[in-house]
Symmetry: C2
Subunit: 300 residues, 2 copies
């Protein structure tokens, strides 16, 4: 990417990310005809349900920031999106968030049944590791390093910790500290992992990885605060999922704990921190910076 | 292991396997106090529910057959048992087999609720890959090779394929071929992976790995046929789980398709094939041979 900040077109960039990521996933995941067909249809239904592909976008923008090419991070981009998709399928289950719509479409279990939805999630989670295990690596990072990074991020102390704590918090009194615990794990962890894996694909230095970690953590929290804000300020039609769910479920959110205005300020301040973390990458971080801006200013 | 076949004591051997595997898992899985505590309690509840640890036993016996030490395969033994445990937790869910008892205890979702049971299974699956990613490897095999082996085994074409096909087969007409498709994936795949990972830990030759694959496949099918036979011939008390479930669920089994006698013959013949696959290992395979014998002759 040689575009400068002024000429950078985020819309085109995201379109290219979506195309690139979907091509990767399409080539890696067994076809809808592959036995057991219903399982692969269920996996593909959620994988290709029109996600925004923000994690692949962050991953691919990070590989650029560290001087690498998209192709180097192709497996990473697919793997993080598969982890994200699996977590949504399981999160939407009746025993969890009990959501009927996701990305404007019926959720996986509404179409394929709960049993198949559990298995499709399991299979996407499993295949993400298979995909990274086949990564050739760089001089500084092996496939095992990448697998470890993704497994720790997705495990019982990070991503799943966030979901479990979220599940337990429903209807309970939750402090701001508890809420940050949940969101650092439920959202920031995988965003951070996405940029770090992108960095590894470009054989990043430890200073670069550290900066990407700070960036991911800040963007992740900001992203979640914006999500909470959108849930109470937007309609279901615009969100493509059921709006106002958090309030109905009596879920703790940033707006419910600190108010809408303070939540907006927190999101802005975190985005500022994210921009600062990018300073060492100079103009190579144009896409990462644009994505951070987009994540804060989005209205769907 | 220097024991000869005549002096080999399987009971003592399995006790040692159980102790070794449980020590490994205990040191690798976060404590019950680790936040989120309920998630880790749920993971540990099923991990330490008194499983027979047959997959770790096969893994550790395979490392012996290939001239290695148990310690070399410690991570493999823990990883395969965690995959097995995750698959049982998800398989027992109301949307799947809807089992209330497992190993003589209430199933995970009966104790921790369905949402937490889904997450505990997810976390065990994820951590299995983290554990293998930290394996130092041998001259012939890297941690990534081991991760790939486990991921392919556990993925949508093997273990999960078996569960999905099993789920779809309920109440349907199922051929003997279909049943073999299911069991090769639902049972044989992970048993085969267990012995292959044990072989890799001992830096096995490709001929040795091939022999272990044949052994695992045969033992796995025999194991499943015996399981089907036990379901209709034993009481719930002795099995430690609800007996007669297959018949109630109108599930296809070997006995229902070919009869009890023919099923017994098939299991015997497969065990014979398993013994033959072990011939190249000579007396080093004493424990593998004893385990195969045990899997066929067990009555619980």
């Amino acid at each position: 990417m040689n575009e400068t900040e002024s000429s950078f077109n985020l819309e085109t960039y995201i379109q290219r990310v979506v195309q690139f990521t979907e091509n990767q996933m399409d080539s890696l995941v067994p076809s809808e005809q592959t036995r057991p067909a219903k399982l692969h249809q269920s996996m593909r239904y959620s994988l290709f349900a029109g996600g925004k592909r923000m994690r692949p976008a962050l991953c691919l923008a990070a590989v650029e920031a560290c001087g690498g090419k998209w192709e180097d991070a192709a497996r990473m981009a697919a793997a993080v999106e598969m982890i994200h998709t699996y977590s949504l399928i399981h999160d939407d289950l009746p025993a969890m968030d009990n959501d009927d719509y996701r990305r404007g479409k019926p959720t996986n279990h509404k179409v394929y049944g709960e049993g198949m939805a559990v298995l499709a999630g399991d299979a996407l989670l499993t295949q993400a590791f298979e995909i990274l295990a086949d990564w050739p690596g760089t001089s500084g990072f092996t496939a095992a390093t990448a697998v470890k990074e993704l497994a720790v991020t997705s495990g019982s102390l990070q991503l799943i910790a966030g979901q479990a704590a979220d599940l337990e918090a429903e209807g309970q009194e939750v402090s701001l500290e508890d809420l940050e615990y949940i969101h650092l794990r439920k959202t920031s962890a995988l965003l951070t992992c996405s940029v770090r894996l992108g960095g590894m694909a470009a054989d990043a230095s430890s200073e670069e990885l550290e900066a990407l970690s700070k960036f991911g953590k800040s963007v992740g929290l900001a992203f979640q605060i914006v999500d909470d804000l959108l849930d109470i300020t937007q309609t279901s039609e615009k969100l493509g999922k059921t709006a106002g769910k958090d309030e109905v479920a009596n879920k703790a959110t940033y707006p419910s704990l600190v108010g809408i205005e303070k939540s907006r300020e927190m999101a802005s301040s975190l985005t500022q921190e994210a921009y600062e973390a990018l300073s060492m990458f100079g103009s190579k971080a144009v896409s990462l910076k644009a994505l951070a801006h987009y994540l804060l200013e989005r209205d769907y």
